[in-house]
């Protein structure tokens, strides 16, 4: 009954770099008359690192909610790959399809160790009977070790996630996303509250990830975006205001008017 909802008709592994991975078209969504998304249309290619900026209330987080199945839009369509519609699918189905999400506030399992956090995030059969008898094999342990190395937490593997520093929690959550082997990573404000050193390292991790994933970063820190971004999308009042390189965005008249307040 639950499996039926997923309906994976196409093989998403066939998608090549540079091909369209996610396509939002004409998304409308209002909360009590407030238009959070206003015929929003957006395309993300496979292997792309995209930054999304916009003022508070521009619809960034709402857009993520729509993509991950947390919120259903009033109208419009969300297509993953060539033809898989994400609407009507619930969060676990979408997650298992290959879309990972990092929240604004770091949300890791505080009581579990770094290792266990990654173990639970790993792409695997997620039914409860499977997990009752699940055992980690060598290959899976290697994957966890590799991820810990990438996010720089190898030495903290047995530490409860709750006592990690803010920056380390953010990395752990990115690590958890990686363990899901998603095609698309949605990363909400990854460097908020980080020290300059941590910001730099986060940039490296995300750039590294964009080699074989699509990464969508929502961020306020313009310095950070300038350092990692190739393509930037500006949201304003629930729709796309401008899109292009950081250079072109900064020179865009409309953007200067509404976003930079000039």
């Amino acid at each position: 009954m639950i499996e039926g909802k997923t309906r994976i008709e196409e093989n998403l592994d066939d998608i090549k770099k540079g091909e369209r991975l996610l396509y939002l078209s004409g998304i409308d969504l209002s909360f009590d008359g407030f238009k959070a998304l206003n015929s929003l249309s957006l395309t993300i290619d496979y292997g792309e690192l995209r930054c999304i900026i916009g003022a508070n209330g521009a619809g960034k987080s709402t857009m993520m909610d729509v993509i991950t199945g947390k919120t259903q839009p009033d109208s419009g369509s969300v297509i993953f790959g060539k033809e898989t519609s994400l609407l009507e699918m619930d969060e676990p189905s979408i997650a298992n399809l290959g879309i990972g999400r990092k929240f604004q506030k770091p949300t890791v399992f505080e009581g579990h160790s770094v290792f266990e956090n990654l173990e639970l995030s790993m792409k695997a059969e997620k039914g409860f009977l499977t997990t009752l008898f699940a055992k980690l094999n060598g290959e899976e342990k290697d994957r966890i070790a590799k991820t810990m190395e990438l996010i720089g937490l190898s030495e903290n593997m047995n530490m409860p996630a709750g006592i990690l520093s803010h920056g380390q929690k953010q990395w752990l959550e990115i690590g958890m996303l990686i363990m899901q082997s998603p095609k698309l990573l949605l990363v909400d404000e990854p460097v908020a509250g980080m020290t300059p050193g941590e910001v730099e390292k986060t940039g490296e991790i995300l750039t590294e990830l964009a080699h074989d994933h699509s990464v969508v970063v929502v961020e306020h820190d313009m310095e950070f975006i300038r350092s990692i971004a190739k393509k930037v999308t500006v949201l304003h009042e629930g729709s796309v205001l401008a899109e292009g390189s950081m250079q072109s965005i900064q020179e865009n008249e409309d953007v200067r008017k509404v976003y930079l307040g000039e």
């Binding site: 990972g100 949300t107 890791v108 173990e119 639970l120 997620k126 409860f128 009752l132 699940a134 958890m176």
Partner: protein, 375 residues
């Protein structure tokens, strides 16, 4: 076969020092109680009376009940204030079997109908009483009825994503509704008198010391098995996912886990354990009435677990023993004080001992104490 089983048992206790000690202690107590009851004469100071044996058996049944609540509350964060309902359903099922065992020895001497039905002028046995002549069928129902209730209730509640205090209130409403239903005479389950006056079980008299001892041993084995099953679940990846759900449900969902399925699984397992606890309780205590469905009793179970320390499994068992032992003592020595004492205990443990008695024990380094004593 035995050779194969022992390692699994040891493995489950391997990293569980507290559980190992607790069950060694319980085993020693059970062995001593049985031995002392049989060997020493009633005048001897070492004698353990049959009344104490029965009380001990009751505590073991309550410990199993507390353990089952700890699975849902300690590991999933679902504060069930209606857990007594599953216990009572199991208890009623066993009570129905015991009623059928009375046969024509009731006051009215009717071999076909239990006394209360004769009193109510019923002509024939209601359909839902069929099959309770068989112990095998009864045991099946003891597990089945609580699990059906847990499944239906859980399916509706978890799917609608009802959580936190709202869920607690609904569980309380559930057990309250059942209490009202069981109070009604036309439910055909004895109304407010419940089921009582039991004579024997599987042909053995319930007044017999031997039967009491066997029931005590069975209660211990049930608690041990329940503990091992729970420990296995909690140690598995599924157990870690439950804790993840307890701590950050949304994150777990976004990792692709169907939270509802996990909650439902644990809820049903816990309901079955609670039902078994109820079935063990009835023959030892000798009565089951709708009061056990009252939210008050369910809250008491929560207090046992809170005082013992939740999320550890053994803490729930310790809590059930400590509180019920105190309850037995106080209700005879200082009956008017007990409820206040219980309330105070709960407040104190919530405020100062968030981890309950287990929290204190963890702080004390026992290995060193033991080593020191040996030196």
């Amino acid at each position: 076969m035995m050779e194969k089983r022992t390692p699994i048992l040891l493995k489950l206790f391997q990293d569980d020092t507290a559980g190992k000690y607790l069950f060694s202690l319980l085993l020693a107590l059970v062995i001593y109680a049985v031995f002392a009851n049989l060997v020493f004469s009633a005048e001897s100071i070492l004698h353990v009376s049959t009344l104490s044996i029965t009380l001990f058996g009751k505590y073991l049944a309550f410990a199993l009940l507390a353990l089952s609540l700890d699975l849902v509350w300690g590991y999933l964060g679902i504060l069930s204030l209606g857990h007594g309902a599953f216990f009572s359903l199991g208890a009623y099922a066993m009570g129905m079997y015991l009623m059928r065992q009375i046969g024509d020895r009731g006051v009215y001497g009717n071999a076909e109908l239990p006394d209360f039905m004769v009193f109510m002028d019923l002509k024939e046995l209601p359909w839902f009483w069929y099959g309770f002549d068989s112990m095998f069928f009864t045991l099946f129902i003891v597990a089945l009825v609580p699990s059906i209730l847990a499944f239906v209730f859980g399916w509706l509640a978890f799917r609608s994503r009802v959580t936190g205090v709202y869920l607690s209130i609904i569980t309380q409403a559930m057990t309250y509704a059942l209490m009202l239903a069981f109070y009604r005479n036309d439910m055909g389950l004895g109304g407010n008198n419940g089921l009582t006056d039991f004579k024997d079980i599987l042909g053995f008299s319930l007044q017999d010391d031997g039967t009491r001892l066997v029931l005590l041993i069975l209660s211990f084995l049930a608690l041990l098995s329940g503990y091992l099953v729970s420990r296995f679940i909690v140690n598995s990846k599924l157990g870690r996912i439950c804790i993840a759900i307890r701590d950050t449900e949304l994150r777990t969902r976004f990792l692709g886990y169907r939270v509802e399925e996990y909650k439902l699984f644990i809820f049903v397992v816990a309901a079955i354990l609670a039902g078994i606890a109820g079935a063990l309780y009835v023959p030892q205590v000798g009565i089951i009435n709708p009061d056990r469905f009252s939210p008050l009793f369910s809250i008491e179970i929560v207090i046992w677990v809170a005082i013992g320390g939740r999320g550890t499994l053994y803490g729930a068992i310790i809590g059930a023993f400590v509180v019920n032992f105190a309850s037995t003592y106080f209700t005879s020595a200082l009956p008017e004080v007990w409820l206040y004492a219980l309330g105070a205990l709960f407040v104190v443990s919530t405020l100062y001992l968030p981890k309950g008695i287990v929290g204190i024990l963890e702080k004390t380094d026992f290995t060193n104490l033991v080593k020191g004593a040996v030196k």
